[in-house]
Symmetry: C2
Subunit: 360 residues, 2 copies
């Protein structure tokens, strides 16, 4: 079935209305809608309006605070920890990034850990806030445990994304936004819907044995880390995922490892948690804290062009710059609209009914 | 042939003597020897005294300045760029890290880009300097181009390592020190010496076609990035390697991408370089800029123990904590000595003769 195409403004208005109905302030509803729309515009469909009903269910279960009071629990000129008071990560992460940017304006860089938060949407949204200010942006978050450490057979880590955004000159920014697992949950769901096996190296069954059955994850299986096996460096993906967990969880005072609260309302939160909510870590470094901005921009453009023009394995598939396909998609979708599949459409219509809102 | 076992002090004295003979100051010779010994002690044999003759050859070729004048070209309270004046990276990277640590003491974090430098040894040495001060340490460097971007067929990136060190409480620090390529050059050399094929996903031949022949790298082939192929996320390893190159090269004013000068004296430096030498990027963040140190240490220990005790795929192979095997090796080798293989022994003896020094 072909997806329906909705304009950005229709989806944005509805999304904002949902957050307002949850009790968010005008400002927070706007911000949260902005993050979800940014995902849909960039083609990261798994992180846009497809998640809206999930946020509502978490709120209904009392696991999201729609009217949080943010406060900094620790602070130095270039660092801070934000207690997000159970907020949507869609709201706390941009708030933390604004603090990081203000710190960077004053002393060159700013780094903010966030605890007591929830799912923060696409990391690229937050990192790009810094890039627009002539800064290098960094954003990571821990997430519901689905991933096993290298050599392990237990869900200990989330897909823990790492994101860096580097501003350029005439070129679009360089944006790396990657899960530290070999494959994302979203890719498994697509394969499962199509009834297809997935490549070896993506997941294991519940005993830690290799599996190519995408449904194994729902039956207690585990995702593998980037690298997939010892020979190909799964311990590196494990290490990166751990760094994300340490920055987001241990440093901030949030939960970490197997204790990170699930994103879905039907899974319970574990007892005796070591921290509060889930955690993020964001940062911004002023480019001109290292080198004059114009000089940097010139070399950044040169880097991008040299890589884009480097020899490709197949001449019809040129080497890509991280973030380039998403930037292109964003330009296109702003004009032609956002495709929404039937499952998500049904979900949004159901949500509209529940919350007594109008929807397409 | 069994390797010879040398005591740390014999190797350290000889290494320091070699650097003194190159014209390094007492202080620099001590520092450079320290970095190489740290690699040998931690069991990273590819980055210890095995590299000593390579540094000497680069110096003889006029590509290393043994008596550099360091200066900062740009500075804010939490950031700076160090012009290393052609120094050994073994000396400039610790110098940069000391500046980062001083900045962090004053304003919470410190970040120093380094240009006009050379190979910096093991990244873990530099990151651990911060961990010893109750700070999270970060160290990356770009390197001679040997790696192709995802989908590419050209040497555009180095094995560009990423290192993070997190201090703990009673436990040893968490140390991730990983190349962003699927496999290291060193692993290929070992396979080649043994005449063994390597796994698919490590390298390609000169045309970008998959290869399992370890000698393909010397015949113009390329290393693949972490992830190995599209299905397993080679674009993620490419993205991470690029981030290292941008921080180390583009941000600092060093060379980047295919222009990074080779580490070996028999390969020429390209003409019309966009920057100076190779580049590094180091950083330090005070833990207590985010959370009281004791509280953090307690949770860091808990994180480490929970992961160590998590369910392993094979009960005889427990899940490892990044940096743990190296820390164990260091304790052992400090007592029992450092194994040096025959090839490296011959190399060191030859060096002793050339420079008119005594050696075992």
């Amino acid at each position: 079935m072909e997806p329906e195409i909705l304009s950005e403004s229709v989806l944005r208005d509805f999304t904002r209305a949902v957050f307002l109905q949850m009790g968010c302030s005008e400002e927070h509803a706007e911000e949260a809608a902005d993050v979800l729309m940014h995902a849909d515009l960039r083609g990261i469909d798994s992180h846009g309006v497809a998640r809206l009903s999930g946020y509502v269910r978490l709120w209904k279960a009392g696991r999201v605070n729609a009217s949080p009071s943010f406060h900094l629990s620790t602070e130095t000129p270039s660092t801070a920890t934000l207690n997000a008071d159970g907020a949507l990560g869609l709201v706390s992460a941009p708030h933390a990034m604004r603090i990081a940017i203000e710190k960077a304006k004053i002393c060159g860089s700013g780094w903010v850990a966030v605890r007591n938060s929830n799912h923060f949407g696409i990391a690229a949204h937050h990192a790009l806030m810094a890039a627009r200010e002539g800064m290098i942006g960094f954003a990571v978050t821990n997430a519901s445990p689905l991933v096993t450490p290298a050599g392990g057979a237990e869900r200990m880590l989330g897909t823990n994304p790492v994101c860096y955004a580097f501003p350029a000159g005439a070129e679009a920014p360089f944006v790396l936004d990657m899960a530290t697992s070999a494959a994302s949950n979203g890719k498994l769901e697509i394969a499962e819907r199509k009834g297809k096996a997935v490549p070896e190296g993506w997941l294991t069954d519940q005993n830690g044995n290799a599996s190519t059955d995408p449904s194994a994850l729902r039956s207690g299986g585990m995702l593998l880390t980037l690298g997939s096996d010892t020979e190909h460096g799964d311990y590196k993906g494990y290490g990166l995922s751990s760094v994300v967990d340490l920055l987001s969880g241990v440093l901030s005072g949030a939960n970490y490892g197997p204790w990170v609260p699930p994103f879905v309302s039907y899974l319970p939160v574990l007892p005796n948690l070591p921290g509060e909510g889930i955690g993020h870590f964001v940062g911004a470094m002023r480019v001109d804290g290292f080198r004059p901005l114009e000089e940097y921009q010139e070399h950044m453009d040169r880097w991008i062009r040299r890589f884009r023009e480097s020899k490709a394995r197949k001449s019809e598939k040129p080497v890509m710059i991280p973030g380039e396909p998403e930037a292109r998609e964003e330009v296109m979708r702003r004009q032609t609209g956002i495709p929404v599949n039937d499952k998500v459409m049904a979900d949004l219509r159901q949500l509209a009914q529940e919350l007594n809102l109008n929807f397409a």
